[in-house]
């Protein structure tokens, strides 16, 4: 991989345009095309952004753990930059899940929050991710931040199967529609809408990951250039021995 920040402005603009177009189409379909749900009414439409956000959060955590493992194996800082970017995006999408979930729960369950396992394990994931970002920022150097971050990322990844299987292992209030069996899954129109929204969110995730990785590369360049400037100033003609 090239060590300098790649300039792919054309691709980035095309990617962003595709995301914006798909996002507009998703909003039109969610609000104007897909039929409403009988029991919950219009508020069920939160589902079309809530679930893709959760999938993106899971993807972010999975990628963060995978890139972290690659960093520990290869000791290449590019993997660490990608892991850091993935963790930040996982935090972003997990925040969206934790904000939209209670807004959906209030009119349907009558409460903003319950001690249900899926909700609690998702909150635990968010806290681990915030901990990851805080830990990295408080590390003494880049290598320490990368090593500590890698360990926390692998711990965060262990929470994903618990969140995913929680509705099967502990029957709670949270709906189980994605892997429901016996004809209890999604209505076909709702399934297609969810697919469209998921594709849109995955494309948005990919765009943001590219931009966040670029930010990491730029930050590394600033660090390298600043060190070089300091060294040059120290070894210059007026430098003290």
């Amino acid at each position: 991989m090239d060590r300098t920040v790649p300039d792919r402005a054309g691709w980035q603009h095309a990617h962003f345009a595709a995301v914006a177009l798909l996002m507009t189409a998703s909003v039109v379909v969610v609000f104007g095309v897909v039929p409403g749900e009988r029991t919950m009414g219009v508020v069920q439409r939160i589902f079309y952004f809530h679930v893709p956000s959760a999938l993106c959060a899971f993807l972010g955590v999975g990628l963060c753990a995978a890139f972290s493992a690659l960093y520990l194996w290869r000791k290449d800082d590019r993997w660490d930059l990608l892991a850091h970017a993935s963790a930040e995006l996982a935090t972003l999408f997990c925040t969206i899940v934790l904000v939209t979930g209670p807004i959906w729960a209030r009119p349907v369950w009558g409460v903003w929050w319950t001690g249900e396992v899926r909700l609690t394990s998702t909150l635990v994931l968010w806290l681990i991710l915030v901990g990851y970002l805080v830990l990295r920022s408080s590390a003494e150097n880049a290598d320490q931040a990368a090593r500590w971050g890698a360990v926390v990322a692998i711990i965060a990844a262990l929470d994903i199967p618990i969140i995913y299987k929680s509705v099967e292992w502990w029957r709670g209030l949270h709906p189980r529609v994605l892997r429901a069996t016996g004809g209890q899954g999604l209505d076909p129109a709702m399934e297609k809408t969810l697919l469209l929204c998921s594709v849109t969110f995955f494309l948005l995730f990919a765009y943001l990951l590219g931009q966040r990785y670029r930010l990491g590369l730029l930050a590394r360049d600033v660090e390298v250039l600043t060190h070089a400037a300091r060294r040059a100033a120290a070894s210059g003609p007026g430098a003290q021995p």
């Binding site: 920040v5 909003v27 039929p35 409403g36 749900e37 009988r38 029991t39 919950m40 009414g41 219009v42 508020v43 069920q44 439409r45 939160i46 589902f47 952004f49 809530h50 956000s53 972003l92 925040t95 969206i96 904000v99 939209t100 807004i103 959906w104 209030r106 009119p107 349907v108 029957r171 209030l173 709906p175 189980r176 529609v177 429901a180 016996g182 004809g183 209890q184 899954g185 999604l186 209505d187 129109a189 709702m190 948005l204 943001l208 931009q211 966040r212 670029r214 930010l215 730029l218 930050a219 360049d221 600033v222 250039l225 600043t226 070089a228 400037a229 040059a232």
Partner: protein
């Protein structure tokens, strides 16, 4: 969750199993307009929250990118690169 499945046999089986029905059935009957109006406010609130969070992140990301790009350019100029 208390959903209505069009198949009564399926609903009965699920009730016998004491399992929550999870199908998101499409709307066929007119719902209570007052309740729908209240729920619509929650729906709008959720989407506004999603857009606000995403827009805020995109904004901070672009600000950080611009600031670092400028910094790199300045450092390269100073180093004569």
């Amino acid at each position: 969750m208390n959903a209505h499945d069009p198949n009564p046999l399926l609903a009965l089986l699920a009730a016998l199993q004491d399992a929550p029905l999870t199908r998101f059935a499409t709307e066929t009957a007119a719902a209570d307009p007052g309740a729908n109006a209240r729920r619509f406010r929650f729906l709008i609130g959720a989407y506004v929250a999603v857009w606000t969070i995403l827009a805020a992140y995109l904004f901070t990301l672009s600000v950080r990118l611009r600031r670092l790009s400028k910094q790199v350019r300045r450092l390269k100029e100073r180093a004569g690169l």
